[in-house]
């Protein structure tokens, strides 16, 4: 039983319980083995923190701001070397590089995907993966037992097997770009069916969505390098205040893109 509910049970006058703020219950939580540092980490804005009770004041707790976790390092943590070859080749076709704007690889999308799949998204932290697992109708959406990380792993293996069987034993990354496009279109339409329990359309949809996420999300997540994708379309990024621009119809807003960590021009290359 947590401390606040004990109070409610044992005290005869609930009116005497005032100013029970978050700080006090985090301290109370320490008795149950939750230290202050861990408590701050638990506050991730989602279900799963310790139960708390508030009365008599607006709660406040220092050091609990729910700032986003960024990507760090540079080496792949999730993709094997063979998987990395597939991902880099596929992302280069989904968003090719040219003078108009960066390609997906140039924007750092493979690294973004790696960090997403190595982390909580890859583990399916916002997916219900319980059974049973009938296939369902297209309208019923994602019905795989795989978490996103499991799906990427299984799909990349199955696609390389498919390509090997149809292109003289080559891996996806080694065939001509025109053939790569044909394979990707076959996955998109579902015309190519894969082994290993992988629904090709489901995987392609997830890969394309995640690729665009890496291309256009804040650079703290490891993609959108130098905010070049934002620059390409004219999105100024995480600006906070556009009030002065509201009545200026048809004018181009001249601000260079800015992210949570500032502008590319503010840091050495």
């Amino acid at each position: 039983m947590s401390s606040h509910d004990e109070l409610d049970v044992l005290r005869s006058d609930p009116e005497s319980i005032v100013d029970l703020d978050r700080r006090r219950f985090l301290v109370g939580g320490a008795v149950a083995g939750i230290g202050g540092v861990a408590a701050a980490a638990i506050h991730d804005g989602e279900l799963g923190g310790p139960p708390q009770s508030f009365r008599g004041s607006v709660p406040w707790q220092e050091g609990t701001a729910d700032a986003p976790p960024g990507a760090s390092g540079s080496a792949y943590a999730f993709f094997s070397p063979a998987e990395a070859l597939f991902i880099e080749a596929a992302v280069a076709r989904l968003i090719p590089n040219d003078e108009v704007g960066p390609g997906g690889v140039e924007a750092g999308v493979p690294f973004f995907l790696d960090r997403q799949l190595a982390g909580r998204f890859g583990q399916g932290d916002h997916y219900f993966l319980g059974g049973p697992w009938p296939k369902g109708t297209p309208e019923q959406g994602y019905q795989s037992r795989f978490s996103p990380a499991q799906l990427y792993r299984a799909a990349i293996m199955a696609i390389d097997q498919y390509v090997g069987a149809n292109f003289n034993g080559a891996a996806f990354s080694k065939i001509a770009t025109g053939d790569q496009d044909k394979v990707l279109k076959g996955l998109e339409s579902g015309d190519i069916q894969l082994d290993g329990g992988v629904d090709s359309k489901s995987f392609f949809g997830m890969l394309l969505q995640n690729t665009k996420e890496g291309y256009f999300s804040d650079p703290i997540y490891g993609g959108n390098k130098n905010m070049a994708a934002w620059q390409m379309i004219g999105f100024p990024g995480a600006h906070y205040d556009y009030k002065e621009w509201v009545p200026r119809h048809g004018e181009r807003v001249p601000y260079p893109p800015v992210g949570f960590k500032g502008r590319p021009g503010w840091t050495e290359s």
Binding site: S2, H4, D8, V9, A32, G45, E46, L47, G49, P50, P51, Q52, S53, F54, R55, G56, V58, P59, D66, A67, P68, R93, L94, I95, P96, D98, V100, G101, D125, H126, Y127, F128, L129, G130, P134, G136, T137, E139, Q140, Y142, Q143, D181, L208, T211, E213, F216, D218, A229, M232, I233, G234, F235, H239, D241, Y242, V246, P247, E251, R252, V253
Partner: protein, 589 residues
């Protein structure tokens, strides 16, 4: 082991908009109130400060503020011949959780339903004949409450939020610049309308040229600073373009956090418990009275909270599920049409028209959740439906809620979804395109309902809610007619090209449409055709009240929150003035 706690006067199950409003009203009446919220505490400075609030990936695509379906989801199918399967990843609708819930990450679009919307059956039957309300197996009903009865409570919510807008009908007098079709308002909006950016302005001009009646969208993203009757202060919106799916770091969007909690949290007779999920409502052996609720917290401890009154103030889908899990009321059976709990589940019928210019820089990233110019000429029964083969309608909005690039890049008809052609289309059109939103009603239908799933269970071992839903012919005809009207306005803007995104085929859980789920615990004038009376009081269990859009007998062509709040204030008024003196049925069956 279940620990029994000290009894309270009222327990609130869920703590979003309806829980916050009801909590404030009941505490001001002197009641000892406990709110049980399954999610965490949330406040502006901690959870969505301006330094990191504008994060499309984390909030929109990683669902950081939404209900986590890994813990709790529902099953969905289009009709009873299919097996319902779990919504394994949020898509069509983005459910809330935590303190403030959907009131944190809504757009702030504050509407009143039309007077005729509350008389869907009798009004349409009188004007178009019996067939109009019974075709396609429609099961539409009157609400048992009228616009005039609710008007003071719509007004109360406007004053709570500081709603920005321009009245179109003040006490029966039509006002220039407002919505001439709206029901009579007793007072002007508390704050003036937002200033329109380029795209909504172009939409308004084109709509006026066609003879329509454009007006600024009423909004809970405030045009100027405001102090509400509870003393809570809101700031002027900065048009940052991150409202829906996001918390507002600027205290500019009306939410429980910005309007009610600064007041309510200080009340000594109010207690909020977070990470505490109600499992069921407990009843007396004769099932005529609720004795309290059983809940489990995130530490796995189970409690019984005895209470004189139980207020279901969770989201529609949770309220209906709790009624079913607690054995309250007769579950609806679509085969026989008998039973009532779960009946008349409805949604919202959405379509859109994308507009592409060559010569106009629209800056779509300058936006706000309800920044729009709107026409209401084709909503509800604002137009003659004779010969059209449907009832209902939609508002059409030239709306710019933001230009978040993962979600909101529009490309012309025929553009592939990837490759160089897609990239070039994105680069060319992002600054020069926007979308007209067609926000349509959804009538209730015999085959659309909610019940308990026979197969899938949540982490507590309880059956998941099962949703059986598809759009009917009435909705398809309405949506096609309205999308054509939107296309006419789009063409009148003289763009390079437009793209119609019609509402076709069956309901799909995949693409986001809107989190406007309604019905299942519907209100009405008799226990035969409703779960709750006009004061949201359960006919079968008079000390149980069920808030929210579950009470809608069908859904109108507007965003639901204004009506949800008005119904809550209306119920609270009756509880505090009449029920507390003499607890019992407020309407005789």
């Amino acid at each position: 082991m279940t620990t029994t706690l000290k009894p309270v006067d009222a327990v609130l199950v869920g703590f979003g908009w309806t829980g916050a409003i009801m909590g404030q009203q009941l505490c001001d009446a002197g009641l000892n109130v406990v709110a049980l919220e399954r999610g965490p505490w949330r406040d502006t400075a901690t959870d969505f400060a301006t330094g990191f609030a504008q994060d499309e990936l984390r909030y929109m695509w990683r669902h950081h503020l939404f209900q986590n379906v890994a813990y709790d989801t529902l099953t969905i199918r289009n009709n009873t011949t299919q097996q319902a399967l779990p919504m394994r990843h949020l898509g069509a609708f983005l459910l809330g959780t935590g303190v403030g819930s959907g009131g944190v990450h809504w757009n702030g679009q504050i509407w009143r339903f039309l007077p005729s919307d509350f008389l869907t059956k009798s009004h349409n039957q009188q004007r178009y004949g019996k067939k109009a309300v019974s075709d396609y197996d429609l099961t539409v009903q009157d609400w048992g409450v009228t616009y005039d009865e609710l008007e003071p409570y719509y007004d109360q919510f406007d004053r709570l939020c500081g709603t920005s807008g321009k009245a179109g009908n003040l006490n029966g007098k039509i006002q220039p610049g407002g919505n001439p079709f709206e029901g009579p308002r007793s007072s002007e909006y508390p704050t003036p309308p937002m200033i329109q950016t380029y795209a909504p302005t172009l939409f308004g001009k084109a709509a006026a040229e066609l003879g329509h009646h454009p007006f600024p969208h009423p909004t809970g993203n405030l045009s100027e600073a405001y102090i509400n009757p509870l003393g809570a202060q809101l700031g002027a919106c900065t048009y940052c373009g991150f409202c829906e799916k996001f918390g507002c770091g600027n205290y500019s969007k009306a939410s429980p956090q910005t309007t009610v909690l600064p007041y309510l949290m200080r009340k000594p007779n109010f207690t909020l418990k977070t990470e505490s999920e109600v499992l069921r409502v407990q009843l007396t052996p004769d099932r005529k009275r609720a004795t309290g609720v059983t809940y489990v917290n995130s530490a796995g401890e189970e409690f019984f909270q005895p209470s004189e009154m139980v207020i279901l103030s969770a989201y529609v889908l949770q309220n209906v599920r709790l009624l079913l899990l607690s054995g309250i009321g007769r579950p609806y059976d679509p085969k026989t049409g008998e039973g009532i709990v779960g009946k008349n589940y409805a949604y919202q019928t959405m379509s859109s028209v994308n507009v592409f210019f060559d010569d106009k820089i629209l800056n779509p990233f300058i936006g706000a959740g309800a920044l729009a110019t709107v026409i209401d000429d084709f909503n509800g029964d604002n137009f003659d439906h004779s010969g059209l083969g449907f009832i209902g309608g939609a508002y059409i909005a030239g709306m710019v809620t933001g230009g978040r690039p993962i979600e909101m890049i529009y490309t012309p008809q025929g553009t592939p979804n990837w490759g160089l052609e897609w990239k070039h289309a994105a680069a060319k059109n992002y600054l020069r395109s926007f979308s007209l939103s067609v926000h349509g009603s959804c009538m209730s239908h015999r085959g659309n309902y909610l019940d308990l799933d026979p197969t899938y269970r949540d982490i507590h071992g309880r059956p998941m809610l099962r949703m059986t839903f598809d759009f009917t012919e009435n909705e398809h005809k309405m949506s096609d007619f309205l999308t054509d009207r939107a296309a006419e306005v789009a063409r009148a803007m003289k763009p390079r090209e437009i793209k119609l995104n019609r509402r076709t085929g069956s309901f799909s859980v995949v693409p986001y449409q809107t989190t406007h789920n309604t019905g299942g615990a519907i209100m009405g004038s008799s226990p035969e055709d409703s779960v709750v009376n006009k004061y949201l009081q359960c006919w079968d269990v008079p000390n149980l009240f069920s808030m929210g859009a579950g009470a809608f007998p069908q859904n109108a062509g507007y965003n639901p929150t204004g009506t949800v709040a008005a119904l809550t204030y209306h119920a609270a008024r009756e509880i505090t003035t009449r029920y507390l003196k003499n607890p019992g049925p407020l309407v005789q069956a």
